[in-house]
Amino acid sequence: MPETTQATINVKLKVKRFDPADAGGKTWWQEYEVDIHPDSTVLDSLIEVREQEDGTLAMRCACRASICGSCGMKVNGSAKLVCKTRVVDVAPNGEQLIIEPMGNQHVVKDLVVSLDTFFNQINRVTPYLQPSFVPEQGEYTASNESMENLLTSMNCIMCGCCVSDCTVLEVDSNFIGPAALAKAWRFTEDPRDSKRDERLKALNDEDGGMWDCTRCMKCVDVCPKGVAPMDRIMELREAAIEAGNTNTSGYHHTESFYNSVKKNGRLDETRLALDSAGWTNIPRLLDLVPIGIAAMRKGKLPPVIPHKAEDHKKIKNLYESVEGESK
């Protein structure tokens, strides 16, 4: 170990506090300062606060090695496992750290959130293997390759960081959430599971299912274990379409986009809006009228007959060569 030049560093913390039994149920901010070893994590500094300064500060932690998933919280507005977050990386110049409980989940006290939201979402996807047969002897086995494919999702330690920062859950608590969808993918891709089609159909049809994700990538950004939930959601969508689920606006949106570029080399915005609404869905079509009129009045309605890219024929040929290959 190289010798450190500094014995300790000073860590400034501003912590969002909440005690249901105190302050009339209101939250408040409290500032702390501790001196700790330069290699310390944010968790180390919070433990220092609790042990040396303020025993009333509530938090949850256990393994200190980013495997138990207990210490998820927001650091400077973004969910992190604080045991995996070094102070020098988030406050290189001794800046004050803003510490809050995770978002989109009920706060029990200070930095502790209830696990109910998270597990209610997970439970919606039947989070266990539903095999088609019982082996006569031994375990259910699967090839190494098929299991390696599942590693991304199997790395999930259920810390809740993705749920905390999901921008859809922020406005819609009925959304099933990134963790549950990544978990669902883990079973739809498992060759031993017999309910792939049923799972895909349920998540395709369900309000708050796979199509409500906005693709904002917050979950990919904050996941401490590389699960990349949004990437799994995109794979679920692709699988759902392939399995014949073509009844959603999401499907029509994707299909229209794909075909628009195939035909014109670029996006036909008007057609995309109409296709996504559905040509026979009168209320949805009428809903587009006011924005169409407003855009027209401002002289910015996208052209009804789309401009084509100069090379649109070459682009179409490219599509055909790629599609021919995958057949």
Partner: protein
């Protein structure tokens, strides 16, 4: 500086004022450009949901065209930036995949070697022109004007593909630009969240809540306008603001959502019309009058 210019579908469609204002500002700055009129749409991440490889092939085709010209690509759209950066990231770290993609481009005599860089106008202004030089072109300081940044997801995530580590100024590019024009940054947590556009046709109720929350919060914090490098965010935050504000907050649409080159153009003293500010759904009049009332530098 010279760029292979890729304005994107929306600047050539639903947000024409972005294209016009970008050209006006680029001309003033002496930025040369060749428009990539033969390039395809990036797929915006939507096409990629159906066929990721198809999307990568379309984007690599564009990179190869710019590479032949020996120019970096300039975009005007967070989504174009993000989707292109991700495609570039995938093929650059996987030579086998790049070779496979190149096979499809051979018919057109194209081959991508992996050397094209992609820069949003916002990044190019900071990294290639420099804020100090940019400031020299300003004829007025937008002192006292409060501007809320709104990035668009694809300009801020994922940070590895967007090369944030190599280019640390990207993290605060919008705030830095707002300060460079002399404005105050109206900071708020929603600045790097989703604008709701991708689910506009899929779950409109959720999309409207996002529009109302972001524009309402920024307004409550005193913003005169919101500035975005993403025309898709603009379409939703401007075009659907009247509906969203009424439906979700029961109030009126009152926050103009302007494009990056419009902000710069205002500081350069360009007219409302030259910047297409009259083409917005939410009126920009009050904000423009406030800017025009500020003293002109001598």
């Amino acid at each position: 500086m010279k760029y292979a210019f890729y304005p994107g579908c929306v600047a050539r469609g639903g947000a024409p004022e972005l294209y016009d204002s970008a050209l006006a500002v680029m001309e003033r700055l002496g930025i040369e450009h060749v428009e990539l009129t033969k390039a395809a749409c990036t797929g915006a991440g939507v096409l990629q949901e159906k066929n990721l490889k198809m999307g990568d092939i379309l984007n690599v085709r564009t990179f190869a065209m710019a590479e032949q010209m020996g120019l970096p690509i300039m975009v005007l759209c967070s989504t174009c930036q993000g989707v292109m950066s991700q495609a570039n990231h995938r093929v650059k770290r996987d030579p086998e995949y790049l070779a496979e993609v190149n096979k499809h481009l051979a018919a057109e005599g194209l081959e991508y070697k992996g050397t094209t860089s992609i820069k949003h106008l916002l990044w190019a202004l900071i990294e290639d022109i420099g804020l100090e030089k940019l400031k020299d072109t300003f004829t007025r300081e937008l002192t006292g004007m409060n501007m809320a940044p709104f990035y668009g997801c694809y300009m801020v995530r994922p940070t590895d593909a967007l090369e944030f580590k190599e280019n640390p100024t990207r993290e605060t590019s919008l705030e830095d630009l707002i300060e460079a024009v002399g404005g105050n940054v109206t900071d708020f947590a929603g600045k790097s969240a989703c604008c709701g556009f991708p689910i506009l046709f899929i779950n409109q109720a959720n999309s409207m809540k996002m529009v109302a929350n972001h524009t309402g919060t920024a307004k409550d914090l005193g913003a005169d306008a919101m500035v975005t490098p993403c025309p898709l965010c603009h379409l939703n935050l401007d075009g659907y603001q009247p509906k969203a504000r009424k439906q979700v907050r029961g109030d009126k649409a009152d926050l103009p959502v302007i494009h990056v080159p419009q902000l710069i153009g205002l500081a350069m003293g360009m007219s409302e019309k030259a910047l297409g500010l009259q083409k917005h759904i939410v009126s920009t009049k009050k904000m423009v009058r406030k800017a025009e009332a500020l003293p002109v530098k001598v």
